[in-house]
């Protein structure tokens, strides 16, 4: 009975045929190629039969020609269910709209709580968060990555030591830790000033204490520069030696610079792509015609989508494509040396205190090997070498 397949989808109607010799009506149907099934007698001149919904028009046409009275007993199948739904259009629309609203509401940021900071900081943070797009009423999927936000926040808000952003349903909890200006206790404990490294004294600015060395004197590491003991041994007083002792110090550094180098930089051109990901399948929503190629750096951010508290198996994917640029640097030996010296100098300056100065720089040795220039450099630096050393009270 293959014809019965898809009965539910096509829809079926059970009809009652009343009249004299209802079999004739069935014969007529048969001649019209209408399949009929489940035929039962329901009395002397009554037959019950079932037909497909699509053949209803044939039945109606035949009814007009004959004296049979036909009544419909019950209807079954998808077309009728849909028909019933169509009558209830407002209801359907209402359900759809409410589902959509519910979905929207589950993906909206309802509250941003800032905890752990003073009111001023809270205000500052709130404004900053607004700038990043995190505030009440925005869609969750419009937010970027929280980690990035945390990082930017630390950079943009002064006085913030740590920020943690946590997502809890529709609430975002931002926890901050403020930098507390630790009160630097001016200790008034007696101290000496000693040399932090070896060098030749160039300049001495002593505020308190007794200088023990002279300008142009060579000192070793640990040598006493300014004593905290004034006066005789008997009437001696212990003070806190203070001051700056500038000395000429020496540094040696090695660098190697390749003659050929390749850098990859981003040009700043970027394009966005948005899409949904369901399991393994991804559906692009926006940004179809983005040029792709090798010079592209892709950054993918994924955002789960919620319905009430449940995470849907759908992820909102935001892809940012950055244009990459490859730079090939081909240096001559001279240029390589200049770059190497610059590099070494910058590195040294980074290590030194900011009131230090480079007095002289010299290339001690230069070798070229394997396409690299190796340099051994010498730097003469003027810097403060004074280091406090407490005088033990017990002494």
């Amino acid at each position: 009975m293959r014809f019965k397949q898809g009965m539910f989808f096509q829809g079926t109607i059970t009809i009652l045929v009343k009249g004299k010799r209802p079999e004739l009506f069935l014969n007529q149907l048969m001649k019209e190629n209408v399949p009929v099934w489940d035929i039962k007698t329901k009395g002397e001149h009554i037959l019950e039969a079932t037909i497909f919904f699509k053949h209803l028009s044939v039945v109606r046409k035949l009814r007009r020609k004959h004296h049979f009275s036909i009544s419909f007993k019950h209807k079954n199948g998808l077309p009728f269910i849909l028909g019933a739904l169509r009558l209830n259009k407002p209801f359907i629309v209402g359900v759809m709209v409410s589902l959509f609203v519910l979905f929207l509401v589950s993906n909206i940021v309802w509250q941003v709580k800032i905890i752990g900071v003073t009111p001023e900081m809270e205000y500052k943070m709130k404004n900053q968060l607004k700038e990043y797009g995190l505030q009440e009423g925005v869609l969750k999927i419009s937010l970027g990555s929280l980690e990035k936000m945390e990082r930017n926040m630390l950079k943009d808000v002064d006085g913030l030591l740590w920020v943690g952003i946590k997502e809890q349903g529709t609430t975002y909890i931002v926890q901050g830790v403020e930098q507390k200006e630790a009160e630097r206790r001016e200790s008034d404990r007696p101290q000496h000033l000693v040399a932090a490294k070896k060098g030749t004294i160039l300049q001495m600015l002593v505020e308190a204490g007794k200088p023990e060395v002279q300008v142009n004197q060579y000192v070793e590491k640990g040598d006493l520069l300014v004593s905290g003991l004034i006066g005789d041994e008997e009437s001696g007083k212990k003070v806190q030696a203070k001051g700056k002792v500038y000395a000429e110090t020496w540094y040696r550094s090695e660098t190697s610079i390749p003659l050929k180098a390749e850098y990859v930089t981003l040009t700043g051109n970027k394009e966005h792509q948005y899409g949904l990901e369901i399991g393994q399948m991804s559906i692009p929503i926006w940004g179809f015609f983005v040029k792709s190629g090798q010079n592209i750096y892709k950054q993918v951010e994924k955002q789960p989508v919620y319905f009430l508290k449940w995470e849907l198996p759908v992820t909102f994917v935001r892809t940012t494509l950055f244009e990459k640029e490859k730079t090939v640097v081909d240096r001559s030996e001279k240029e390589a040396i200049v770059t190497g010296v610059d590099q070494a100098r910058n590195e040294l300056l980074r290590r030194l205190h900011h009131d230090s100065k480079i007095l002289e720089e010299k290339i001690l040795r230069k070798t070229v090997e394997n396409g690299k220039v190796k340099l051994i450099l010498f730097f003469k630096v003027k810097e403060n070498i004074a280091k406090p050393q407490p005088i033990n009270q017990g002494e």
């Binding site: 009975m1 048969m30 009929v36 099934w37 489940d38 039962k40 007698t41």
Partner: protein, 93 residues
């Protein structure tokens, strides 16, 4: 159908071992125990009741008697009867 045609058909059936119902437009009735009767090549339903079904054939009628008859399926030239079948009779009228 002329006599000559009938003879020709009979000859074909004999020579090529063709099934008789196809060539002669005769009814093919298959019964499954007592519960089902599958009737092909019928020409129409004449009467149908719980106890008796009369079907028109090319020549004559077929009468199926029994109890609790339900026509499970009715297609052009095919009928499936379900119920308690007592007898199948061929009537020439």
């Amino acid at each position: 159908m002329t006599k000559w045609q009938r003879k020709m058909k009979q000859w074909l059936i004999n020579q090529f071992d063709m099934p008789a119902d196809v060539m002669h437009e005769l009814p093919r009735i298959t019964t499954i125990g007592q519960i089902h009767a599958y009737i092909e090549n019928h020409q129409g339903l004449v009467t149908f009741s719980e106890k008796e079904i009369l079907l028109k054939m090319t020549r004559g009628y077929v009468k199926v008697t029994g109890e609790n008859f339900v026509l499970k399926m009715m297609l052009p030239e095919e009928i499936l009867v379900e119920g308690q079948i007592h007898s199948v009779q061929f009537l020439r009228q």
